[in-house]
Symmetry: C3
Subunit: 137 residues, 3 copies
């Protein structure tokens, strides 16, 4: 069984970490699937997804490390086409997908785990595909 939908997320800054855990958890419950997995997939090349603790300082730290490892406008070839190569490359390091377990009808995360959409070239309207797959109870 597959339950398929999308989330629309309006980001509000050039760089931002948006916690979408509650929205994904709600879709998992809505799906009626008891046991399986959920695929969370961003459809953009300048966003990524990551899982970690929801703590404001840590969210800034993750973004600070991305900007340090892949600094904007550091002589990239793609900046001649579009001035956002660093946004693309940071998104590659994070990856576009999270695959998470669904157990007993709910999103089966650890106590401190939250799902974040990492905006790296906003603000923009973003679309995230969510597919819940597995068995009904």
């Amino acid at each position: 069984m597959v339950y398929s939908t999308t989330l629309e997320i309006s980001t509000s800054a050039a760089e931002q970490a948006v916690d979408i855990t509650l929205r994904v958890g709600g879709l998992v419950r809505e799906s009626g699937i008891a046991n399986g997995l959920v695929l969370v997939f961003t459809t953009h090349t300048t966003t990524g997804l990551f899982l970690n603790e929801h703590e404001g300082g840590l969210e800034k730290d993750v973004q600070g490390v991305l900007a340090r490892l892949v600094p904007p406008r550091a002589g990239y070839l793609h900046d001649r086409v579009d001035d956002n190569a660093a946004s693309h490359i940071q998104s590659v390091l994070l990856g576009p997908s999270l695959v998470l377990p669904v157990t007993d009808g709910r999103l089966d995360l650890g106590r401190w785990q939250n799902i974040f959409l990492a905006e790296r070239d906003g603000p923009r309207r973003r679309t995230v595909v969510v597919k819940v797959m597995g068995e009904r109870s």
Copy 2:
């Protein structure tokens, strides 16, 4: 339902990004699966997979950042065994799998998203496993 197959890819350089979007998309259509996901998995420890825009400059930029973050022959222990530690570690940063949505019988990517096999220790013949899972229409 599961549709399972492999892609054989001959790379032509030591470092290379090979766009395999059309081939994966063709397998998704062949599978007859209407709604679900596709797992794309490289079976090697010196390649990775990533998703991003198909633009020649950006492909070089991604590879340039990998080489800057994990430079070859920078005193790695594994280089005493086999002279390619950086290739392995760059592959770890990218990851071996992409899990992508399948909707209405096709690979459901955003407009700018393309699937790349990142060769980090070529040229070689590489095998990528593709599994499409989900519901028929």
Copy 3:
């Protein structure tokens, strides 16, 4: 069909790479699933999962690169809350999940591929969720 279980792993050092390939492979055989995928998911925010060659030098190299890219106590905001920001951010770079193919009733990895839990803030008792999904033969 979904086969769902967990692995308990006691790590023995602050930073460690624990090879869990045999344990995951055993669960795949136990599942009775012939064709599909296995999701391996760590439920913690200071561990990650990666796939690579089992060679002691390389395991140290991967950990050395993580520590170089995200050095501990480098002025992170999260260190004011809890003294382990680098452990969190290194885990984000690795990611919490691996999705791997299952073919002919076994874990379908390449010859040199092994599954590692990367402990970044141990020693601790860790829980990894394993879900095998697919078709029986």
